[in-house]
């Protein structure tokens, strides 16, 4: 096995799963994978936005403790997109890994997920202390959350316009 950068990319692109994502003429192949990726995005980023809006004070009737009930919806979105995202990566690994925007997207998602964990922890701590409204600290985390998830969505969408190479032959597009 060739352990060089190009060798690994060629190895992935030669695999059956990669070829399926890239070449299957079935509508259950790439088209369904990319459609599910958009639905997962809506569930994950959208539900995070809903949580942020509550933290900002919109819909104060939602108890802070009940915000944890939104987490399963986020989890569904996350796993749907983790699976479809890996499939899309396997289909075009060179296209993704050689594009700085893809690396930015992964970074934004990672930081956004950690930020969401912090926000949840902060909100539940404040609820346990008897608060009905979120503190300025939680609101700052909410603003950061909105910015990070928006950045993740935008950088994901821009992948279609910013790539340099399509596959490990490294022919310029």
């Amino acid at each position: 096995m060739d352990w060089s950068f190009q060798g690994l990319l060629l190895e992935i692109e030669a695999s059956g799963l990669s070829a399926f994502v890239r070449q299957s003429p079935s509508m259950l192949g790439f088209p369904t994978i990319i459609a599910l990726h958009a639905i997962g995005m809506g569930l994950l980023a959208g539900t995070n936005a809903a949580m942020d809006f509550r933290v900002f004070g919109v819909a104060p009737g939602i108890p802070l403790s009940a915000l944890e009930r939104l987490v399963p919806v986020m989890r569904w979105g996350f796993w749907l997109n983790a699976i479809t995202g890996v499939l899309l990566f396997l289909g075009w690994p060179t296209k993704a890994i050689t594009n700085p925007v893809f690396l930015l997207k992964i970074l934004l998602i990672t930081v956004a997920l950690v930020n969401t964990l912090y926000l949840r922890k902060e909100v539940q701590r404040e609820f346990a202390a008897g608060a009905a409204a979120a503190s300025p600290k939680a609101k700052v985390l909410g603003v950061v959350s909105l910015a990070l998830w928006t950045g993740a969505v935008v950088s994901g969408r821009l992948l279609a316009y910013t790539y340099h190479y399509i596959d490990a032959s490294f022919d310029p597009r």
Binding site: A35, A45, I62, V153, V154, R157
Partner: protein
């Protein structure tokens, strides 16, 4: 009918907006980004409300969740506007595209459904507190709304794969 569709197609192509979408490289990607942010706003608020009606997220009171709906309306408006921008840019890629036609049907379904909801069920539903059972008609309305919006996203992503002149759909 074909005559009117053709006239609409040609008029859209003749607009300055159509021209701008083709001459400015970043115009299309920027509109796409707004379209996807709008999608998230819609699914995160209206989609969540639908899930609540269907019986998920029960600890959240229906009336409070309804306060988030204006953000869904904002997302809807962002997407309606950018959607019309796409249509104006390359009308031929949409008007004759079965995925686009299906997307419009799902949107009409969601539209009729939301009108039915506000005319018949809203006043009874909005008083439902945490952990209360949602009546069956409201569950159905929630499920129809959720399915329609999922259909809109699916067809939206499928547009690329049914671009004219390649034509395939069960009814054509």
């Amino acid at each position: 009918m074909d005559h009117y569709v053709q006239a609409l197609h040609e008029w859209l192509l003749s607009t300055p907006l159509s021209n701008a979408m083709k001459t400015h490289f970043w115009a299309w990607p920027m509109a796409e980004c707004i379209h996807f942010i709008g999608l998230c706003l819609l699914i995160g608020t209206v989609g969540l409300f639908d899930l609540r009606l269907m019986g998920f997220v029960r600890r959240v009171p229906v009336s409070s969740l309804h306060r988030l709906v204006p953000f869904g309306v904002l997302g809807y408006c962002m997407n309606a506007l950018t959607g019309m921008v796409f249509l104006t840019g390359f009308p031929g890629q949409y008007i004759y595209n079965p995925a686009f036609q299906s997307k419009m049907l799902f949107m009409a379904g969601a539209g009729i459904n939301v009108i039915v909801f506000y005319l018949t069920l809203y006043r009874r539903i909005v008083v439902i507190g945490p952990n209360d059972e949602v009546p069956v008609p409201a569950r159905i309305v929630g499920a129809v709304s959720f399915i329609c919006w999922m259909g809109v996203i699916f067809c939206g992503r499928f547009l690329t794969f049914y671009r004219p002149p390649y034509h395939w759909c069960p009814w054509c």
